[in-house]
Structure formats: structure tokens, C-alpha cells
Symmetry: C2
Subunit: 530 residues, 2 copies
């Protein structure tokens, strides 16, 4: 699709143009310096909005007509409803009925529930998607069927791209679990409660036109106003905006895999041995089974040591909420919510603090929270011997995952990837990652069931764990290994390194770094690959 490429600072060939726009190749971590001013929406006048504050229109179609939806526009949405979103398929269905064509969809993430949008890509309503492509849409793109290139960004990178004017949103669709007729909106209550609406905050601030869609209209004022009505043009009511069962689950599933539990426990022992767990520390762990188990292990340690975290970063789960309520942390700083306990706590507990991609992650701000987190626990689909990691493609080259906050979190003081050394007998540690999403210099520790590999750049961590091991009781020393050694052990078991995916030369998507530069391209998967 793109022809010209250039080798970036990570040695990856990346296109010079993406969907017609010139690109900056990745220059190294912290090397690129932006210039110019932030983007800004048009100045409007209150005189053009209803004095009684009632911005409602009768239907989604009326709303799209009111904001002047037209061919070629960029339409954005948030993913706080995750796989329970009931809005965006309808939006593009209506757009299709209106005869609008060649839209760019700019979601903060897409989910399997958006598979029907393949029809909108096929019928020309949507030209291409810029945003995480989880599941079916990723596979569709991987097979080279999308007209434009996919552009994958981290949560912080999405804010950066909007803020820096790289993406101009014509129409933002903000599905809201509760809203008033003025457009004030919140995610923390209502039948479709999802917790936060922070992924839509940049959209509300920078988009030319903003539509709030809700299934729970309350009298003005809707409090809290996570989204401010002063940024909203139109409000429309639908019967249902989200399927609660698919937004958050009542209980989050802990892993039962003995290997995963071992990995989580090793990761927890590592942060203690390395002196990271101390009074006033902070950590971030997601909602994956291993991350949950890690949180439970460190909770036990903190009780045992009689210490307290200053803050824990969510996505929240019942386990983090328990820590807050038990007094094991002063604050939860939350960007999203993974279960109903998280939603409740966020609504009720002032020590459970809302964040946004601006406060948490935006690299083009005057700092962000990510660099102040003592330890972060993340996943990966592949890691290479230089600690470079992949989180978007599988080893067959299929683009099946979004980046989320993953790239942004790498800036933590200690980035730990607790991962199994193989999946379905495929080694996870490779010579070179299929897709480079995170540079190895930011990844400090790999924890597998076969041992812990610390990045040689972090001799401070190596020294501390060695010192710990020197005084550990028999059998309690942490199994430090080089990453090559773990790789070698796995390959002996699996019979060698994994097969290279069969990829064409054609790019189907690019991966942006947190500063808007292009760190890698994703290739089309050959039709032979299943």
C-alpha cells in the first residue's frame, strides 16, 4: 500500500507516509523533540447553543446530520464498554444508510463485538480504522483487506496524536452510561456503568463536533461530569448503549494455571528481593490472570511487612479495591475499570482517583504518571534476546491485539514482563520480535516459570537480587538466568526456535511509538497462514 520505506533507529523498515500523511521514523527513546503548538478546536459561541441547555435530538441519524457528518470525515469513539459496546455498530449502520462514505474510524480500541463493521469496511462506509484492532478486525486487516493502513497507538499515544494535531477528529461519539441533556456525562453509574470515560476525554476537548449518546438521562446537572457538556454539541438517547455483562464481569478470574501462579509468585518475590516493595511504593498490574495473582502475592507481602503503598494504578479490580479498603494503599489511580467492585469504589471512595491518558501517559506533556510508578507488570506475545517486546501480533504474524497503555507503562522505574516461556509449545523468547512495540532498553525484567532474566542494563537490580540471594535460606534464592539461557532451555524442549511467520512485503498497519514516530510496520499475512 505504501511504497517508500526508511530504516528507523530500531533498524525497522517503516513507511515514510501513512494514509497520505508524512511520518517521522522512530528516533530512539526520548530522542524525538516535537515542535509547534497543540491542536485546537474551532472557537464557538454559546449564542449558537440552546439557552435552556437542552441539546437533545430525536435519533442517532438526527445527531449525525446535526453535526454535518460527511464523506471522508474522522469519527472517534472510546472503548470503556469493551466487548459490550452497543453504539458504534449502529453509528456506522446509520452512516451507511445516510450514504456517507470513506470515513476513518478512530476508536481508542475495537473489540470482537465490532466484527459487523467488516461489512462497513466492505461497503465503503469506513475507509480504514486507526486504533487497536483486537480480534476479527485485526485479522481482516492482517489479510490485507482494509483499504488504508491501520495505525496502532498506545493510550498515551492516542492522546498525543490528538493533542499534537496528527489526527483531527471531525465527530466524536461519546457513549455515556449517564448524562444530562446539556451533555455532561459520567461512566460511574447507570445501567451500563463502565467506570470511567477518560479514553474519550481528548475527543471531547479536541474534536470539532461531539455527540453524547446515553441510555440514562438525568436532570441537569449530571454529577460527576467526567465529560463536560461545554464541549458537547448534541445529545441523543438510545435504549441501550452497553451490555453490562460484557463491559465488566462481577468477578475477575484469577489464573489457576500452576505455571502462571509460579510466575506471578516469582515476580512478587523479585520486587521484594530488589528492594522495590517498601513503605510508600507504587505499582501497576492489569487484569490478566497472572497480574491479578501478582497483586495478591504482593498484598500478602505488604501485610507481612506491615507496609503501605502510596498508590496503586488500576485498571481496578476487586483485589485492588480490597487493598484500598484494607489500608494497604493511600490511593488507587485509575484509568479504567475491570469489574463491578472497581466501578463501585470509584463512585464512592474519594481515595479512588480518576485519571486520563493525559495525566497517566501522554508523552508530550510536562511529565506523566507512568514514570513515577515503582514497578509495572505487563504481558507480551514475544520478547527477544535484546528484551525488545511485541504485544500486538502473534508469532504467525496476525495482528490480534491492541497496545493499550502498554508502551506508556514501560516508563515505570521497573518494568517486569511475567510471561510463560512457551505457549502451545511455541517459544516466546525469540531472536527478533515479529513486531517491535517496546524497545528493550525500557524492559527490565522477564519472569518465566524457568527463571528470571534481568536486563543487563539494570546492573543495579542484578546486584540487589544477588545480594538478596546471598542471604536467602537454602532453596529460597531467586532463579536468575540470562535471557539467552532461558531461550536455549525452551528451544531444547520445543525442538528449536519457532517457525518464521509467512508474511508478504506489504504493510497493513504501523505501530506508533509514544511520541508519534513510527517504530514498526505490520506486514500482510500470506493467505496460506491459517
Amino acid at each position: 500500500m505504501s511504497t517508500e520505506t526508511v530504516e528507523n533507529a530500531a533498524g525497522r523498515l517503516v513507511p515514510t507516509h501513512v494514509n497520505g500523511k508524512p511520518q517521522t521514523p522512530f528516533a530512539g527513546v526520548g530522542k524525538f523533540r516535537p515542535s509547534g503548538k497543540k491542536a485546537a478546536p474551532p472557537i464557538v459561541s454559546s449564542a449558537d447553543y440552546p439557552a435552556d441547555g437542552d441539546k437533545r435530538v430525536g435519533s442517532l441519524r438526527d445527531a449525525l446530520a446535526a453535526v454535518g457528518l460527511a464523506d471522508g470525515m474522522t469519527v472517534s469513539s472510546h472503548h470503556h464498554f469493551r466487548n459490550g459496546d452497543l453504539v458504534m455498530n449502529r453509528v456506522f449502520e446509520v452512516a451507511s444508510e445516510m450514504g456517507v462514505r470513506d470515513l476513518t474510524w478512530f476508536p481508542s480500541a475495537s473489540f470482537p463485538c465490532h466484527a459487523p463493521l467488516i461489512d462497513r469496511l466492505e461497503d465503503g462506509t469506513i475507509h480504514h480504522i486507526e486504533g487497536s484492532l483486537n480480534g476479527p478486525l485485526g485479522e481482516y486487516a492482517s489479510r490485507g483487506k482494509m483499504r488504508g493502513l491501520g495505525v496502532l497507538r498506545s493510550h498515551g499515544g492516542r492522546w498525543q496524536a490528538i493533542q499534537d494535531g496528527e489526527v483531527e477528529i471531525d465527530v466524536a461519539i461519546i457513549a455515556a452510561p449517564t448524562a444530562d441533556a446539556f451533555g455532561n456525562a459520567t461512566g460511574d453509574r447507570g445501567p451500563s456503568a463502565c467506570g470511567l470515560l477518560g479514553f474519550a476525554l481528548a475527543d471531547s476537548l479536541y474534536a470539532k463536533k461531539v455527540i453524547v449518546v446515553t441510555d440514562n438521562l438525568v436532570p441537569f446537572p449530571c454529577v460527576p461530569w467526567q465529560i463536560q457538556g461545554q464541549n458537547v454539541d448534541v445529545v441523543v438517547e438510545l435504549d441501550r448503549v452497553g451490555d453490562p455483562d460484557k463491559i465488566v464481569s462481577g468477578t475477575t478470574q484469577l489464573t489457576r494455571s500452576p505455571d502462571r501462579l509460579l510466575i506471578a509468585e516469582l515476580a512478587a518475590k523479585f520486587v521484594r528481593a530488589a528492594g522495590i516493595v517498601r513503605d510508600g511504593w507504587s505499582f501497576q498490574a492489569g487484569a490478566g490472570g497472572t497480574a491479578l495473582a501478582f497483586a495478591i502475592f504482593v498484598r500478602g507481602m505488604m501485610r507481612e511487612l506491615g507496609i503501605k503503598a502510596r498508590f496503586v494504578r488500576g485498571g481496578s479490580t476487586q483485589y485492588l479495591v480490597q487493598m484500598l479498603e484494607e489500608g494497604l494503599t493511600d490511593y488507587i489511580l485509575d484509568g479504567q475499570t475491570f469489574d463491578l467492585e472497581g466501578v463501585r469504589s470509584m463512585r464512592e471512595n474519594p481515595a479512588h482517583v480518576n485519571t486520563s491518558p493525559f495525566t497517566s501517559y501522554n508523552y508530550h506533556g510536562k511529565g506523566n504518571f507512568a514514570t513515577m510508578v515503582d514497578a509495572v507488570v505487563l504481558g507480551a506475545t514475544e520478547v527477544d534476546v535484546n528484551f525488545n517486546a511485541n504485544v500486538v501480533t502473534h508469532s504467525d504474524g496476525m495482528l490480534l491485539h491492541g497496545i493499550g497503555g502498554w508502551q506508556n507503562c514501560l516508563f515505570s522505574r521497573c518494568t517486569i514482563l511475567p510471561i510463560p516461556s512457551m505457549r502451545d509449545r511455541m517459544p516466546i523468547i525469540v531472536d527478533e520480535v515479529t513486531t517491535l512495540v517496546g524497545p528493550g532498553e525500557l524492559i527490565d525484567v522477564i519472569v518465566t516459570e524457568r527463571g528470571i532474566a534481568i536486563n543487563p542494563r539494570r546492573d543495579d537490580l542484578i546486584d540487589r537480587v544477588n545480594a538478596w540471594n546471598a542471604h536467602a535460606p537454602a532453596g529460597a534464592a531467586l532463579p536468575l538466568k540470562s535471557i539467552e539461557q532461558i531461550k536455549h532451555e525452551v528451544e531444547r524442549l520445543t525442538g528449536g526456535p519457532p517457525a518464521q511467520p509467512e508474511l508478504s512485503d506489504e504493510d497493513i498497519a504501523v505501530i506508533k511509538w509514544v511520541d508519534g514516530t513510527v517504530i514498526d510496520a505490520v506486514k500482510k499475512v500470506s493467505t496460506k497462514t491459517s
Copy 2:
């Protein structure tokens, strides 16, 4: 100072240029339409800020040097400390020591405590002030001693001017009662607690450089973060940033004047008679003695009628807090805080909601809260027979008051000015206001101790009060009069209309309307005037 003038839509002669910048004359309420995009600060990179989040420097001088303070720059500040501000005099003293000249000071308001800045105006450190000029600085300007023209804006107009790029802030100084080393800051706690920091919000979002000054540094994160550290460049600690006794007083003084009490009671009876007090209504009243008395009278009515407000707009006082805690209102929407009870409630009660000039007042947004308030009670220094009102100059022409949120509040569904018909035997109702700050078409009712004058434009209100009076018990009818009649009665007592102030032709300040246009100019007071 300015030579060219033009007659605006209100018939006032206003300068075509102010401090070298071209101006748009007032075109009528809701007539001017802005164009272009909002202002935006430079794009920065987190790579240039400390990864550990510690932005502290050792002194105010280091802070000003770090942000590159230089001749001719615009320096902004907020007025949440009111007459207890201990920061801005020091800032300009340091600037003077650094040899910096010709600064524009752009405060959200100045107070008598800033009288020492007359020395900085005299020594050339400050060129002129754009912002409310309360007391001594107003008198200094009124006597023609300031080099540039004063520019007075409402709270919403200040946001509009920053947002629209009319004022570019080079360095914002944000004095904060509590902050962390990253720059997150809050006003609701700490020894200098002042409640909110909303008047500094636009400064933090749009200024090129932002300095947070605090006397209560807490470990990261400072929660809540009314100001986000991601917008802050430098943090500096001072021994004291505000004098608590002068920021808020433990008790707010109710008026004891029988005339004022009568006026407040009449205003309260009016809102009931006009059908405005009903279940789910809303109102705003300030912290003046009459406004407080009004709030207490309507509280009694609401108890008697068994009804509840949907929201009350602050500045908060203990009386509003009592209403919230008693269940007489669902919410207090607060822009500032006038007493310690207000600060406490804001900190503790989630139904006490922070607002900013953006949400409350900004005219160049997609609506704002002001238009949704059922009734607002405001003051005035003069009102004319066309209901035009003045709130900045006295009848001697002296510029002694700021605009505050006054202009913005005029957009309420019913704007009521409860004012004495004379002050020191000077009639308050005049043929033409000395300075036009609020157009008569937005002012609905004047309540004096001699009777109530309803603007003839509001025949709906006249009809409703007449209907009420028709069924009122003997002696309980509301004393409706024409504004001319009240004026006539007063002039009979005082011996005629007040003397015209002795003013020169020279402009010393301009008054901006909420949309950035110039609604009037303020003339230099002749030296003869005391």
C-alpha cells in the same frame, strides 16, 4: 492614551485599539460571532522533564529564571486568596530585583493587599494590569497614572480571552495551598486553604510556562489535583502563600441594616410570587450581606413549601452548606468559597461540586451553566432607567471594583439586582450609568427598599406578580413600580439627580463584554475629584 474611538452598539465610544491590539466594539448581546481556532500552548516532551517527577527549584527567583521571565512578558495569577495573597507582591519584587521590565500583570483580580505593586508600576517592572482593579490599584489607574490601559473582564471573559488567544500568558503563577513536587495542586486543604483554584485553570492549560508556588508540599500524588502537574513546569516552596484570616473568614456577615434586610426579603418574596421558587429550581447569590439574607429568606420559604432546589451556585457560605446538608438542594456548584464551612464542605461532600469559569461562564463554549440558573441575585453601583447597570465605577467615576462573574450571571433566567435606592444620599438609579457593564436587556428586576421595578421586556414576570398580588392578603401585595417612579421618589428626597463625575476625555481602562468585545471605556478622573 488611545486616540481613535468608535461608537459601539450600546452607543458608547470605545477605543479601536487597546495596548496596541485591535479591538472589536460591542455588537449587541449574542450578536458577535467568533472565528478561528482556540489558542494552544507549545507542544512539549516529557523527555525534558524529570522522570522522578520532582520539579522543585530552590527559590522564587530560580523559578522565574527557569521559565525564562523576560521584559515585556505577561504574568498571570489567580485571586482565590483574595485579600490574603502573599505571593504576587513577592513575585514582582523578585522580578524587579532581576531587572525585568514592562511586564503585563494578568490577575483574575487584584485586591487592596496588592497596593505595594504601585511601586512596581512606578519603577517600570509592571507596565500595566489587565484584570479587576479593586481599591488602590483602581484608584491609581483612575488618576491616569498607569502606562497602559486597564482591561476589565468577567471571570468567563477572562477564560474566553485566554482560550481565544486574545491574551497570551507567558508565565502563570499558581499559588497553591497544597501541592506535590510534580505540580499537582489543590486549594481545598492546607494552612492556606482557599477552596478552589478554578480561576487558575485556564492559566494552567494555556500558559507557555506554569509555576506552582506552595507552602504545603505533600508526597505525590496531591489529591485532588484541581491543577494537573502535567501542565506545570516548576514547583517552588515558600514559607506562606496566603494569610488564612484574609482568605476566608470563619463567619460571613449577614447584613444588619433594616433597609438591606427589607430589600432581601422583597427579593425573596418576588421569586416566590413570580413562580420561580419551585421544586427543582436553582439560584445563585453571592456573599454580600443582602445576598446572604436573600438565601436565608428563600431557605425559609423552601422549608415552608417542602420543596428542594436541584442546585445552588456558590461562592459558598455556611448558609448554602446548611441548605445542602439539610437536603434543601441536591448540589452546590461552586466556583469559589467565601468561608471556612464552604471549604470544608467542598473537601468532604461529593454533592458539593467544583466548577471553573469554563463550565460556569465561558461564553465561547458550547453553552455554560449561567443560562441554566433560574434566578441570580447581584449587586450594582448604578442602574439606569433602561436597566443598564454599572458594577465597576462609583458615581464619582473612580474605578474601584472588578466585574467578577457578574456579567456572566446576567444570562440567568431571571437576573435580580436588590440594591438600595441611594447610598450616602446619592441616588443609585440614574439617567445613564457612568460605565456600562451590563446591558439592560439582560437585567430583569430591580429590588429597592422603595419597591420592585420589573424590566418592561419581561411582561411574563410582570403578569405573574400581578396575578400573585391579585390574590394576596391585604398588605401582602408586592410593591411593583416603574423604575422611573423609584428614581423620581429618590430624587425628591435627595434634591435631584447625582452630580456628574468630573472626567477627562482620556481612557484609563476598557470594559470587555463576555464575548471579548469592548462594551465601554473608563475615563480618567479629574484631579479635583477626591
